[in-house]
Symmetry: C2
Amino acid sequence: MNVVITVDPRDGRRRATDLTETDESRLEAIAVQASRAARWLSDLGRLGRAEMLDRIAASLESRRVDLVAVAEAETGLSQPRLETELTRSALQFRMFGDVLRDGGYVEAAIDHAADTPLGPGPDLRRMLVPLGPVAVFGASNFPFAFSVAGGDTASALAAGCPTVLKAHPSHPLTSHASADAITSAIREMGGPDGVISTVHGEQAGRSLVRHPAIRAAALTGSVGAARAIQTAIDERPDPIPLYAELSSVNPIVVLPGAAVDRADVIADGLFASFTASGGQLCTKPGLAFIPSGPDGEHLLDALRGRVGSAGGAVLLNERIRDAYESGATAFERAGARVSARPQVDPGEGFTVAPRLLEVDLPGLTAEIADECFGPLLVVVRYRDIAELDAALATVPPSLTGSVHRGPDDDADAVRGLVDVLAARSGRIVFDGYPTGVRVSWAQHHGGPWPSTNAVHTSVGATSIRRFLRPLAWQDAPEWILPDELRDAYTAVPRRVDGRLEPKRE
Amino acid sequence: MNVVITVDPRDGRRRATDLTETDESRLEAIAVQASRAARWLSDLGRLGRAEMLDRIAASLESRRVDLVAVAEAETGLSQPRLETELTRSALQFRMFGDVLRDGGYVEAAIDHAADTPLGPGPDLRRMLVPLGPVAVFGASNFPFAFSVAGGDTASALAAGCPTVLKAHPSHPLTSHASADAITSAIREMGGPDGVISTVHGEQAGRSLVRHPAIRAAALTGSVGAARAIQTAIDERPDPIPLYAELSSVNPIVVLPGAAVDRADVIADGLFASFTASGGQLCTKPGLAFIPSGPDGEHLLDALRGRVGSAGGAVLLNERIRDAYESGATAFERAGARVSARPQVDPGEGFTVAPRLLEVDLPGLTAEIADECFGPLLVVVRYRDIAELDAALATVPPSLTGSVHRGPDDDADAVRGLVDVLAARSGRIVFDGYPTGVRVSWAQHHGGPWPSTNAVHTSVGATSIRRFLRPLAWQDAPEWILPDELRDAYTAVPRRVDGRLEPKRE
């Protein structure tokens, strides 16, 4: 069996771990355990699962020091960033606890038997039920919040779906330690093996999504990774949904009035947003449209100054480092000029220099309007707002689109721009930056292809719906119905005979 | 250009119509019109679209006599059945009007700016918005309710999505007349061309789903048709969702107590359910499990009597007729015995004899547990309930699973059986029949593969969600927000800071 390797991106040092890649017989055992665990999760009920999620959050926090240390050595992300991320992970588990206690997510609906224009209609009751065991592929760039202890796991467990995690090869030990923290909380509640499990190795990932027990898959990763997983899924006789969050350029438009109003403030904000976490965020702004003329130049100068004096960024792994360097080179070859690039000692690890590139409209080509994962921003100078529509049409649809306005900017211009951004993104940010995705009820983290492959969100309360399916009961005796669908039960919001009734407790 | 042919299935007569298959240039024009019409539908707003749907319902009903006559000649379905179906179509349009007036379908959510464990959180507002123009493939078996004037069209228009219908070749003139009725209602409101359009021809269908303007596709049809459409979609650079409702066996289990209690009543119900509309319903029961022994035999005898004296059924087209005959033959070759089959004169058209087949457990093979579209029911004799689990595992997952209970049946047995059915279907029917799908809020018409290809419903209020996507606004100025997301607006249910607030008007 192949030993799993861990690499420290700060010095490039490779170390064998005690972990091995998951072989077919181990995968089979995991699938059997997951199928059995589904019943335990279901029997726990909504409120029991809410308690489980709270305990998982507490368990993760109780191991904070160890988890952050192991993640730091595997990812090169800073300790403060990892501390925040672990808090985010705990928050996500707790938020899904709230979602379960609220109960609206089951979308309970009751239509009593009634006469209809088509004759007597039967009694119908509908709610969402768990899909069954699901596969989650951890992301490289969030070793906690989009990995084993991430939002996909939290929403799947909340839904009542046992979860098999494909550990990201960039942080196998963090994945192992996270799974251990989660498992310990589940054991405290008397839970069986198989509520969550981890597998290691690419082949195990492919076998996982082909396994008959697996009912859905979620991924945060590259278009290439999504294609490979989809190809494996396509070998199944029964298709299963893949929820993939992929590639996003996240354009930011600085309108002329904003440049007049606060060029320095925006330069600071842009710099922080595109360099945070080494620019390795799915919501990193890759393109900033700024007006030509003195105010825009002032903004650009301020940005150049920040970038020129910036230090190096340790990227997550060798592949990402290489892709960053070759991506930046490709942008330059396609006509983007280097606007600022500090001297940085690459050292032995995967350290790179941040890069600010610039291009003038109409010089923005599809090659330059592509995602480059890492601390790179392309500034695009425009002469007038009319140029922006065509330019934004060359930018691939994204998770987000941002607009910075000033007091002088015309409302119609803003409205037109927002229409264009809305058609090509999942979240429109006003006078801010797309990074720092709030975990809350109204969040949406998804968008038109290639930002996601399906109409779903992977952050926020509604991400739980990925792992649920509707089930209807027709003329069922009350004793066989789930609590949420019995007439006298009022502890979840329900739609009764077409009317929404809030919960009453 | 190829002329479109219409065939009368009652006598097999083929006639040229005035319609032609849609060529690429016409398709391009339709796509352009549909893209433009999206703005008009959006500007109409929820309440305007509700009025449009009511007018469409009225327009369909005002042309009832003509529509039913043309459909009768193209489908061979009876006049009373078609009358009911047209009523169903009108009801569906009106129900989506109610869904729009309720407004809960946009899932409005507001999280005000607030301090969070991760620092200050921005103001976030989220709701569902239309996907854009969609393609709908009409079904053969419901020339109104699952075709041009069907639920897919009603839900897509309700969502605000211009709809391009691929007319089913079995009823081109009905499709044309239905589109005309809908268009007339839209024109009354000053609507532009392109809100709905129809295309004819297989090639046009493939080109349609490959067109960049099309943002989703819906189909009620065969697994083969879904594969062909998916293959065309896979040629796009940007994937779009396909919502397909496909194949369903709809097993019915008659428990021993039910056979004791009401064998004759169940025989009557089963007969009506599998022969209605020539057995050409997606919810037609294809398998009935009955207990061996005198009560089961009594039920089977009653069923044999009904089938043996039944008349012939006109099937929708030559392909369906041929598939029915070859399917029945394959079942017999796989070991199913003919239990009853009346003598029927096939005539010149596509008339067939209903068939009752029988098999004893454990003789139910995958070949026999398959869908056979048309008036065929396989009765499966079981000796004890323990045999049912394994037998139901050989039945492909279905839209529905039904159980008939009697006073003597044990609650645990019912519960165990319902668990098995729930894992393999989308709707569980108690003491009734899966046909006659109620159009209402709590309906679910979908299920695990192969009954549908995705986690969606194609009937009921929630089917509108297929044509919507989430969009979030971060720190947006109030004047740019949709009404439903402004603080003072309360005419839709909303989740505000995590709490569900019912609508107040």
